[in-house]
């Protein structure tokens, strides 16, 4: 009896355990109970094809047959950082009119109409360090959409009337740039960090828009828009081989040309403590931004900095300034890293005028604490868990996967860059976080910008140091005659 009963008990226990784990219907849990998660279904990595055409155009393709749509996004090696300082706005106008101006055989309005009637979009633009082209189309219209795309890339018209329209829009943006306090804060803070004349922070004025001619625009386009200077990602409901054939058919005749790309302008930053104010008498809440220059992602310390960012933003700034003190809706602290040029370390918050200086003190305190003491075990574990457990979301959309690859390729990063960051992040220790905080954060040498109504502040800003007042009034357009006199 003894022997059998033991086996019996073991068998029963075994089944009870199975029952308990395998069938949750009999075990309601409380959030704080121990959860044993079933293993996660494997990530099915889609096959991404990389193809280079004879004319130098690089393609990344991934099939996605779930919905009858096809999307394309291309990056062109150019950027507004390459426009002359006297013509700020040139790149933006060029990027816009490339599409809105139509081609030598089809004007922009006809193109708008035909594309929209088939529910397709083609857009083009030029940002700071890259140009882009996007196409989004229902599968059945792909042939026509590609014909139009090829026509845009090969035969853009850049007509005067659409250049004029783009200039009207630019001038309107200038005239409205001080209407929104958030926009003022971001723009002026970039100028404090990179310098007002820096290509990374400068913005158009009436004079620089007026100075842009059609010839400038055509030349800018002719300098950069070549297949060997372009990378494309395509995803959607197609067979890759057929898609490559379609692209070849339409873009093979897009002529390559040797492009001499200047290297990106250098950023030269001198760490300094400054206090800056922009008076805005019509608001009851101040926008605060504090920080200094940041770094690039391609830095061995980037994984540790990512952990630091998570803790500084969420466990420190958010907890202290929002949850505990109720001083702001949005608050963060983030060491920004760019692909190729340094980002910005930036702490931001918006708080009622009456708590402005108090909030700045708290933000500086949290920043300083980061550089003085190790984070807790709990904070470190939490930051890592957040990153690692949500890592699977980097693979939940094929669009995201193929765009990431293209972006890495464009900026010359290894295609498995994200996996390398993950590996690095798994190894980050509390000592690493403190080390990078000490190395990269300079709480004594931050620039502080406050946009708000100073009469209502809890204390004068001068209690923080000598205040530099920034004038944001918009230089008025000069009449032509006056320009001639100068």
């Amino acid at each position: 009896m003894g022997k059998y009963s033991k086996v019996f008990i073991i068998v029963i226990a075994f089944f009870l355990v199975l029952f308990y784990c395998g069938n949750p219907a009999f075990s309601q849990k409380s959030p704080k109970d121990k959860f044993v998660f079933p293993s996660l279904n494997p990530i099915q990595m889609p096959k991404v094809e990389k193809v280079e055409l004879a004319n130098g155009l690089t393609l990344f393709l991934v099939e996605d047959h779930q919905y009858p749509t096809i999307d394309l996004r291309a990056m062109v090696r150019t950027g507004s950082v390459f426009e002359p300082p006297s013509k700020v706005g040139l790149a933006a106008i060029c990027g816009q009119v490339l599409r809105t101006g139509g081609t030598t055989s089809m004007n922009g309005d006809q193109m708008d109409k035909e594309l929209e009637t088939m529910a397709a979009t083609i857009s083009t633009g030029i940002g700071l360090t890259s140009g882009y082209i996007t196409v989004s189309v229902l599968k059945e219209d792909i042939d026509r959409a590609f014909e139009i795309l090829a026509d845009i890339l090969k035969n853009p018209a850049f007509p005067e009337d659409k250049i004029n329209l783009a200039k009207i829009q630019q001038r309107t943006v200038i005239s409205r740039r001080n209407d929104d306090i958030g926009q003022i804060t971001f723009r002026e803070f970039q100028k404090l960090i990179y310098g007002g004349d820096s290509p990374y922070a400068c913005h158009p004025e009436y004079a620089t828009i007026d100075a842009v001619t059609r010839q400038d625009i055509v030349r800018f386009y002719q300098k950069y828009f070549y297949p060997n200077n372009t990378i494309m990602a395509v995803w959607g409901d197609f067979e890759s081989q057929e898609m490559v054939a379609k692209i070849k058919k339409n873009l093979e005749t897009w002529q390559r040309k040797d492009v001499s790309i200047l290297s990106l302008p250098k950023v030269d930053y001198g760490y300094r403590y400054t206090v800056n104010h922009i008076q805005k008498p019509d608001v009851n809440q101040s926008h605060i931004m504090i920080g200094h220059i940041g770094g690039v992602m391609n830095n061995p310390d980037y994984p540790a900095l990512s952990v630091m960012n998570s803790i500084l933003s969420f466990d420190r700034m958010f907890k202290k300034i929002r949850t505990d003190e109720g001083l702001a809706y949005s608050v963060y602290g983030y060491y920004g890293a760019g692909y190729t040029y340094p980002g910005v370390f930036r702490c931001g918050a918006q708080t009622k005028s009456e708590s402005t200086v108090y909030a700045i003190g708290l933000m500086l305190g949290e920043m300083k604490r980061m550089t003085e003491e190790e984070v807790s075990d709990e904070e470190l574990a939490k930051a890592k868990d957040e990153y690692l457990n949500s890592f699977v979301f980097n693979f939940d959309s094929r669009a995201e996967i193929v765009n990431r690859m293209m972006t890495y390729a464009y900026f010359g990063y290894p295609l498995d860059f994200m996996d390398r960051v993950k590996e690095g992040l798994e190894k980050v220790t509390k000592a690493d976080v403190l080390r990078v905080a000490k190395k990269y954060l300079h709480p004594e040498k931050v620039q502080i910008l406050v946009v708000g109504k100073e009469e209502d502040f809890d204390k004068p800003l001068s209690t923080l140091g000598e205040v530099n007042t920034i004038d944001i009034s918009i230089p008025s357009p000069k009449p032509e005659k006056e320009q001639m006199k100068e």
Binding site: A25, P31, F35, R176, I181, A328, E386, S390, V392, F395
Partner: protein, 501 residues
């Protein structure tokens, strides 16, 4: 020869016409998805809508609470949104070290808060007593804080990989969203059922301050925010679309924790909650767990629907906001709710008039006359559940005025009321409507949102897919008819930002 050429030409036209008039709207694609959707209602009235998709081992959750700013009355405006904030503060087990001890302090705090409020309202407040009470309030608040595990609910979710944790409050609804690795399904069940079964509205007074900052940020310091608040308050004189979602500042200053608890009891019963779940899961497993975890929530009566309806407007209304800003103009005409049969033709009207570079308003105001840089038309503002507005919005170009924009908008309205829209324009609307829907459906999170929206607001989740038929059936006559029925000057409100001198 001549004749044959012409016939040929006509044949081509007819062929083109057929292609244009019968755009492929992918009925098979929508039908296939529709057939995979499963629903399950619990005995307490809570409903689960599930779509399994195994492309990636992730799952998105969307809890749709059928309560929003439109359910609020005077004195408690903003409470739906404030409650949404409080729903992140934890429960009897999450966010707290000693719930019993904490409860005592929180109750004491509420009583003291009422006493302070009454003292302040007295004809001659006793300043000494008041200051004493306020000091005691602050020290009690500190004491309560000692029991709090700050942000634990959010931390626990994020730590399990929740990339999408958030919530939104609108005029119509309050929506809670999560996205997790799919093996965390039961964890979500445990956390979320606890969230709606045992919420504790701790750290209430500081969170109210956060919401006030949110009001300043999104509404008071932004000229456009100010304009929209006054515009809606003018267009709706009776219906609660009258007030902004974030609520009036004075209400936010006075809403109590008890108000929020009462509001929760009234509107967060299981019959008022609908859950959408989309991703790497199986419906059977979900339904089994849902029974186990969510059936515990006691059922209650479905809350009374909003009583007030907006009466007919007696004449054009105008409202201005003076601000340090360039001009902006908004125009709104009263239209029925999203359930009404005219909703689809109104969407067509909005698209043809004011969406995209080839729309009539963009063509005329932006490209040809160059008086505006943006000119948009949209339906269903500020919500869908109740009678709402068909709105136009224009940003005048530098040197041009709102009046110039309005004149041209009026001309285009006149034209669309007297002439039929073209077949190409109708096709454009139909195909874009379908493509937009397809694009949204690609995301698990958006799909979960769409399913719950269709079920609650339109009355049946199937309408998400069946609306394609409705869209296909729209004719030029329908568009002309709704333009004439609703774009009536007497029934409109015009709002403008006037640059302050």
């Amino acid at each position: 020869m001549q004749v044959r050429k012409r016939q040929c030409f006509i044949a081509v036209l007819i062929l083109a016409g057929i292609l244009v008039l019968n755009p492929s709207l992918f009925p098979q694609t929508f039908e296939a998805i529709k057939n995979q959707v499963r629903i399950h209602a619990l005995k307490n009235g809570m409903k689960f809508i599930v779509l399994e998709r195994h492309d990636a081992p992730v799952v998105s959750f969307h809890v749709y609470a059928d309560v929003g700013a439109a359910n609020e009355s005077y004195g408690i405006t903003g409470i739906s949104h404030l409650l949404e904030h409080m729903a992140f503060k934890g429960t009897k087990v999450v966010g707290v070290t000693d719930y019993e001890a904490e409860t005592e302090v929180l109750e004491e705090l509420d009583i003291l808060y009422d006493a302070i409020k009454r003292e302040k309202a007295a004809t001659e407040p006793d300043k000494e007593k008041l200051s004493e009470m306020e000091q005691r309030f602050e020290s009690l608040r500190q004491k309560a804080k000692e029991y709090v595990v700050t942000n634990e609910f959010i931390d626990m979710m994020r730590r399990e990989g929740d990339r999408g944790i958030n919530a939104y409050t609108s005029n119509d609804a309050t929506q809670y969203i999560n996205s997790l690795p799919s093996n965390r399904l039961e964890f979500w069940m445990a956390m979320t059922s606890d969230r709606f079964l045992n919420p504790v509205f701790r750290e209430f007074y500081k969170e109210r301050d956060v919401v006030m900052e949110e009001r300043r940020l999104g509404l008071e310091t932004r000229p456009m925010g100010r304009l929209l608040e006054d515009f809606l308050a003018t267009a709706f004189k009776a219906h609660p679309y009258h007030h902004s979602v974030v609520g009036h500042m004075s209400d936010l200053q006075n809403i109590t924790r008890t108000d929020v608890e009462n509001y929760f009891r009234k509107y967060y019963g299981p019959s008022n909650l609908t859950v959408g779940i989309v991703g790497d899961v199986t419906p059977d497993e979900i339904f089994q767990m849902a029974d186990l975890y969510f059936s515990r929530i006691p059922s209650g009566p479905k809350p009374e629907p909003v009583r007030t309806t907006e009466p007919e407007q007696w004449g054009e209304r105008r409202v201005t906001v003076e601000a340090v800003s360039q001009p902006i103009i908004v125009v709104g005409y009263h239209t029925p709710s999203a359930c009404h049969k005219d909703n689809a033709p109104l969407e067509a009207l909005a698209n043809i008039l004011g969406q995209g570079r080839s729309s009539r308003l963009y063509q005329v105001l932006v490209k040809e006359k160059k008086v505006a840089v943006t000119a948009v038309g949209l339906s269903g503002f500020p919500g869908d559940k109740f009678s709402n507005l068909f709105a136009f919005y224009a940003v005048p170009a530098k040197g041009h005025t709102s009046a110039e924009c309005l004149e041209l908008i009026d001309e285009e309205i006149g034209r669309i009321k007297s002439e039929f829209v073209t077949p190409e324009e109708l096709t454009k609307f139909k195909r874009n409507a379908v493509k937009n829907l397809l694009n949204q459906m690609k995301s698990n999170a958006r799909m979960a949102a769409l399913l719950t929206y269709a079920d609650v607001v339109l009355g049946d989740w199937k309408l998400l897919f069946d609306q394609i038929e409705e869209i296909r059936a729209i004719t030029a006559e329908d568009v002309k008819r709704v333009a004439n029925t609703y774009l009536v000057k007497k029934h409109r409100t015009v709002g403008e930002i006037i640059p302050e001198k």
